[in-house]
């Protein structure tokens, strides 16, 4: 979805930022968004990172970012609790990304 949405918008993304937050994702507000997710996960510097997202992307952007975090906290648990496999088509489409980002360490079968 990430790669497809970047391609649909005609933009560029450095996907390594997904697993390496020191890398600039290359999309507007990307650094602030990644730092916000990291702060949420670690429960550290959340006020600072929240303010950075609000400054970069506005109040509605902050609400959307919190909403997406919340949704994927839910969906990750549904996926991990029910053991849904990733489809063969998705695996084929994402092979190069998975290898580059080291995502194959996560369960997907």
């Amino acid at each position: 979805m990430l790669r497809a949405s970047v391609e649909a918008s005609g933009g560029h993304l450095d996907a390594r930022a997904i697993t390496n937050p020191s890398i600039d994702p290359g999309i507007a507000g990307g650094r602030a968004l990644v730092a916000f997710v990291d702060a949420f996960s670690a429960r550290q510097e959340l006020d600072l990172r929240r303010n950075e997202v609000q400054s970069a992307l506005g109040p509605a952007g902050l609400v959307d970012a919190a909403g997406v975090i919340a949704n994927f906290e839910m969906m990750n648990r549904v996926a991990e609790g029910t053991g849904i496999p990733v489809g063969k088509g998705s695996l084929a489409r994402t092979e190069s990304w998975r290898a580059a980002l080291g995502l194959d360490v996560f369960r997907h079968q």
Partner: protein, 208 residues
Amino acid sequence: MAFLEHPPVPVRPDIAAAFEREWARLAGPGSSWTGSERVDMAAAARSSREGGAPSERLPDAAIAVAVRLGAEPGTMNRQEADRASAAVGVGRYVELVGVVARTAAVDAFHVALGVPLPEFPEPVAGSATARLEAAATTGPAWVPMVGGSSIVNALSLMPDEAAAQEDLHGPLYLTYDQMEDLTFRRGLHRAQMELVAARTSALNECFY
């Protein structure tokens, strides 16, 4: 019940409304657990993330899943899922996963915005409805599903749980239909949303 007290920014009313519906569902009897048991599951999951003692009223296997899935979803494994399904029944296991997952969503939104977590609702008395999808079949996933193994169908053995998941999914992220729109824009544009989703999943060690 207080949701989103004194948020730092205005929150869309559809999000607060979705949380109110979720808490009403949580309090009431589910398909295979009572309201009291559902609230206990949610409390066990929250305590695993935020501290506190989990309920001692649930079966041990249910508490174990609520704690693991609540705090470290990426460590969940088939053996534990199978053990819990055998102990409490697969339908009850699926409902447990749904309750724990949605509680995580409600809590996460509050934590992300820096507002206090909402208190759990008072359970509503009543018997479980025993509503279960008889057409669900066993496939490559760990639990039976209707319509193939996918994240949208993951809880379909228990239709009320699948509907509850969809009810939160729209306000927090996108409706299932909106997911087709790769140029969707609200407070964030779609690529920004997907970056947040991908980083969240990576930190949860979740391939999804």
